[in-house]
């Protein structure tokens, strides 16, 4: 693989970081402050996107930041997997920033400066995590992401919010220190390096029992992926303002978790090692259990955001399951689903936030007839829901297609059954919302007729954009497929 030394990845990080300072400085002038956020998001997206051509040619962009100690290097390396995640995150940051402005101003939230600053730090760390060249760098950004999102989750500072935030922190920081860090230390001790390599770095370096222990530690230590039973922080974190839930809990934080698992599975252990030890199957079982259980719990949630949260838990495990199959199509599907699910889920959360701002409704049972008052919002919601269920022409279909293919390649009938069951369950908890919104009569007496009562335009526009993104991704899925297959080719040795 051709290595191309460039400072671009560093610039992509610095853009968000300098935004933090500028936002802080202009705290007294809200318009200027929001301009910085938007400018930074735009610039970041441009820098990240400018690396696309190089990556598509199969090259890798590298840049060394600092050597903390021998063996502990802060190094950035952009490959196809990282760039896909970073592009998704920076694009959605831009959209979410617009949405945030609408949401935060409509609700006249407090501490908005802190909110935008933490948001920028969170994006800084998500990008850093995507570009991490070794486990140490990855861990650094993993922790920074946790710490920077804590103030966002605790934003309302009510006892409830603080309780949720504390659980959030306990789960994420606790597992990463107690399980992930020891696993990284053991990796360093046995493999002598922490650098990601497409064939894995642990093969033949440690006894099987130790490798199994390390694998379990890594999976348990990545609570951001919300694999059961380490998922309960996610619903608890739904106390955050909706844009936070949208970007961080559908895209940045949770995707950082599955991204970490993917990196570790493919680039630290390597598929041959895991297949040889049968650990892929273990992970697949955990993921399958999570998919089904979370879907069943989601069925019973009346709070819209809680239902979306459980749906996220289930969808994240799709990615884990896909990667755990250790087959080319499976891995491709998992990587594609990182982006596809991000667009779908952010649309759903945006819609939930818009409903809250425009109609002050949070429960599913209150949504009867709301589709007539908020046609754009609920239309976008429908597109997002269809993507979750995997109905064409929503993009969710594409990744599920490859997931099924991967299951066939791996000769795992059970996985196919799990996927079909879960698809039915997905339909079971999304379609009633859509039906009720459009076809049921609202219980409320329409006071001013059935006039349109949409949320502010700064909120509706983003959700329409992401919903069209979901559709667009279906028709342009070959680009996504190409990027994913660069990764797949490198980790499977070109097969």
């Amino acid at each position: 693989m051709e290595v191309y030394a460039s400072l671009k990845p560093l610039y992509a990080l610095l853009v968000s970081l300098s935004a933090v300072i500028l936002i802080g400085v202009s705290r007294k002038r809200p318009n200027l402050r929001e301009t910085w956020t938007l400018l930074a998001a735009l610039l970041k997206l441009a820098i990240v996107a400018s690396m696309l051509p190089l990556i598509l040619e199969g090259k890798v962009v590298e840049c060394l930041l600092a050597t903390v100690a021998p063996g502990l290097e802060l190094r950035l390396k952009v490959d196809s997997l990282g760039l896909l995640f970073a592009t998704t995150a920076s694009f959605l940051w831009l959209i979410t920033s617009v949405y945030s402005i609408g949401y935060m101003r409509a609700l006249e939230e407090h501490a908005q400066t802190r909110y935008y600053m933490c948001f920028a730090v969170a994006l800084f760390s998500a990008t850093g995590l995507a570009f991490a060249a070794n486990l140490f760098t990855l861990f650094v950004f993993y922790e920074v992401l946790t710490l920077s999102t804590y103030p966002l989750v605790a934003h309302k500072q009510t006892p409830d919010a603080l309780k949720g935030a504390r659980r959030y922190l306990t789960f994420l920081l606790g597992t990463s220190i107690l399980f992930q860090l020891p696993a990284i230390i053991m990796t360093y001790f046995y493999a002598g390096t922490l650098d990601f390599s497409s064939g894995g770095i642990l093969a033949g370096k440690a006894p099987d029992a130790i490798i199994t222990v390390m694998f379990i530690l890594f999976i348990a230590g990545t609570a951001k992926a919300a694999i059961m039973p380490l998922h309960s922080w996610l619903p608890a974190a739904m106390v955050a303002p909706t844009p936070v839930s949208a970007l961080l809990h559908a895209v940045a934080v949770v995707k950082a978790g599955v991204f970490t698992v993917t990196r570790v599975v493919l680039y630290v252990f390597g598929i041959d090692l895991l297949a040889g030890l049968g650990l892929g199957v273990v992970l697949a079982c955990l993921a399958s259990f999570t998919i089904i259980t979370a879907s069943i719990i989601a069925l019973r949630q009346d709070n819209l955001k809680a239902r979306l949260a459980y749906s996220t838990i289930s969808q994240l495990s799709y990615i884990i399951l896909a990667v755990a199959l250790l087959t080319p199509s499976g891995i491709t599907s998992g990587i594609m689903h990182i982006t596809i699910h991000a667009f779908g889920k952010i649309t759903l959360f945006f819609a939930a936030g818009a409903i809250y701002v425009a109609a002050h409704k949070t429960q599913v049972s209150e949504l009867d007839g709301i589709g007539r008052r908020m046609p754009f919002t609920m239309g976008a919601f429908t597109v997002g829901a269809l993507s979750m269920i995997a109905v064409p022409p929503a993009a969710g279909f594409v990744s599920k297609w490859y997931l099924l293919l991967g299951a066939v390649e791996a000769h795992q009938i059970l996985v196919i059954i799990v996927i079909i069951t879960s698809t039915l369950l997905n339909a079971g908890y999304y379609l009633p919302i859509v039906c009720a919104a459009f076809f049921k009569e609202g219980r409320e007496v329409p006071c001013r007729g059935d006039r349109l009562r949409e949320a502010p335009a700064t909120m509706v526009a983003p959700l329409v954009i992401t919903a069209s993104g979901v559709l667009l991704l279906f028709f342009t899925s070959n680009y996504l497929f190409n990027m994913a297959s660069i990764v797949t080719a490198s980790v499977t040795g070109g097969n």
Binding site: A66, T67, V68, A69, L162, L173, G174, I177
Partner: protein, 502 residues
């Protein structure tokens, strides 16, 4: 000049102490200036000295021109050069900070005496580290201990006296043990010079007398560094001492103790002695692990921030002893690095607490609510140091923990990783309570009784004065600088550890 520096850096604070007493009679304000100037010059001296050591290796000074082993020798090598830089730098930083804090906490007529005792304390600290003679070490250790009893007793509350008295009893027992150890060694070898002892001891290493001497040293030093379960004197001493004294003691005096432990074990007795026979290093590992967990658990239970930090120190001492017990290069590097790191982190934390006491007179964690808005810079420094204590990467705390964890694996004691991580988690628990109060809890009104009279308008508490803020921020910044660029301290620590393990 360079050859005389080992004695000069000790003479500066010693003469400073005498001058302070005299100058303080003329005008009180002179005493602080003298203290600041002497600690500054001893830092510069140490810095030059360590640079020379870096280029030429070990530097030895013969006191009065008497050739060792007959005369007293002052030696600076990588190990104590490293510790000296840490100690003299933190001392200087705390002295700058002390001005405002002492003005408020110590009655004016006692201030010259305070600074005199303070400088004698610094003399003891530097002397303990720089001397190459084991009896001279005892002398400096006594200077260090006696002055600390005095400094602690100057605390405002009555409990300071009890704390000081407690420390006096325990400290004297420890010192007596050390003296007995020295006596036994002298009996066996007829020499007091450390390098000389090292050459003679292996021949008689398995004799009962030497073993007894070792036991006396270990117990005595364990009391001095407050290794669990011999820690009882420490919490009250740190809690009720004046703010500047808590900071300097937490940052430096246990470090000096840890240095003596390392020196005695590796230079005087030698690593082979530890590993032969009873394998006493396992004992160290066990007590270190217990100390790490026990200190952290007890810290979680505290409601007073100074007490919390004191118990946290007990856990942190465990880290340093752990690396010593592991007896491998990585472990000792981790220990030495933690000497630096803990001095920076704990120094910074105590300085912030001192600033809060100065402005608001509170030490209860529950009263910290809303301080993030009132004293943003101090609280930011506190947060950085706290995060570093937890061991978040890119702060110093991470690097030393990393080295200790890798060392545990190298020593075949992988389970220790979980002890380290569990303690990180406990540290996160007790610091997060504070951070939560600082930033996310609504501002609580401080009850009137707690407030010192010097704050005229309690509704608008201000940020700490610049003179207190600068040292605090510098220490916090160093927590990050050395967290990212650990290569420099690590390279010195590596050289020191290599020499020790020979």
């Amino acid at each position: 000049m360079i050859k005389d520096l080992p004695v000069i850096v000790i003479l500066i604070p010693l003469l400073g102490a005498l001058l302070t007493l005299i100058a303080g009679r003329i005008n009180r304000i002179f005493s602080w200036y003298l203290a600041a100037v002497s600690t500054f010059f001893s830092f510069i001296g140490v810095f030059v000295l360590v640079q020379a050591v870096w280029h030429t290796g070990r530097i030895s000074y013969w006191l009065g021109g008497w050739e060792p082993p007959r005369g007293i020798e002052y030696v600076v090598d990588y190990l104590n050069g490293f510790v000296l830089v840490v100690i003299s730098f933190v001392t200087f930083a705390v002295t700058i900070y002390a001005k405002k804090s002492v003005e408020q906490e110590i009655p004016p007529q006692k201030q010259p005496v305070f600074y005199t005792t303070y400088l004698l304390f610094v003399t003891g600290l530097l002397g303990v580290v720089i001397t190459g003679d084991i009896f001279n070490l005892y002398v400096f250790l006594e200077i260090l201990s006696l002055t600390s009893y005095g400094l602690i007793a100057m605390g405002k509350k009555r409990e300071a006296l009890i704390g000081s008295y407690n420390y006096l009893i325990m400290g004297s027992v420890g010192a007596t043990f050390i003296l007995l150890g020295i006596g036994h060694l002298y009996m066996m070898t007829g020499t007091l010079n450390m390098a000389d002892l090292r050459e003679i001891l292996p021949a008689v290493s398995q004799s009962r007398v030497v073993l007894t001497a070792f036991a006396f040293f270990v117990i005595g030093l364990s009391i001095k560094i407050a290794l669990f379960p011999l820690h009882n004197w420490l919490p009250n001493a740190y809690t009720y001492a004046p703010s500047a004294v808590s900071a300097i003691m937490a940052a430096t005096s246990t470090k000096a103790g840890a240095y003596i432990l390392i020196r005695v074990i590796f230079t005087v007795f030698g690593p082979a002695f530890m590993l032969s026979g009873m394998q006493m290093n396992h004992l160290f590992v066990f007590f270190a692990a217990v100390a790490i967990l026990a200190g952290s658990i007890m810290a979680v239970a505290q409601t007073d921030i100074k007490k919390m930090l004191a118990y946290s120190s007990i856990g942190q001492i465990g880290y340093i002893v752990l690396g010593v017990g592991l007896m491998n290069l990585t472990g000792i590097m981790g220990s030495l690095l933690h000497v630096l790191n803990h001095a920076l982190m704990k120094g910074c934390l105590f300085l912030v607490v001192g600033a809060v006491v100065y402005r608001l007179g509170i030490t209860k964690i529950a009263d910290f609510k809303g301080l993030g808005k009132k004293m943003p810079v101090s609280m930011a420094a506190f947060t950085v140091a706290a995060v570093s204590m937890i061991g978040v990467p890119l702060t110093v705390g991470f690097v030393s923990k990393w080295y200790l964890a890798v060392a545990s694996l190298e020593a075949g004691m992988g389970f220790l990783i979980f002890v380290l991580m569990l303690s990180s988690l406990l540290i996160a628990v007790y610091f997060w309570r504070v951070i939560d109060n600082i930033y996310f809890q609504p501002c609580a009104d401080v009850e009137a009784g707690h407030r010192p009279n010097s704050v005229p308008d309690p509704s608008k508490p201000k940020e700490a004065p610049v003179l207190m803020l600068v040292p605090t921020v510098v220490l916090a910044a160093l927590c990050i600088v050395f967290g990212i660029f650990s290569a420099l301290p690590l390279s010195i620590a590596e050289k020191a550890a290599t020499v020790l393990l020979k």
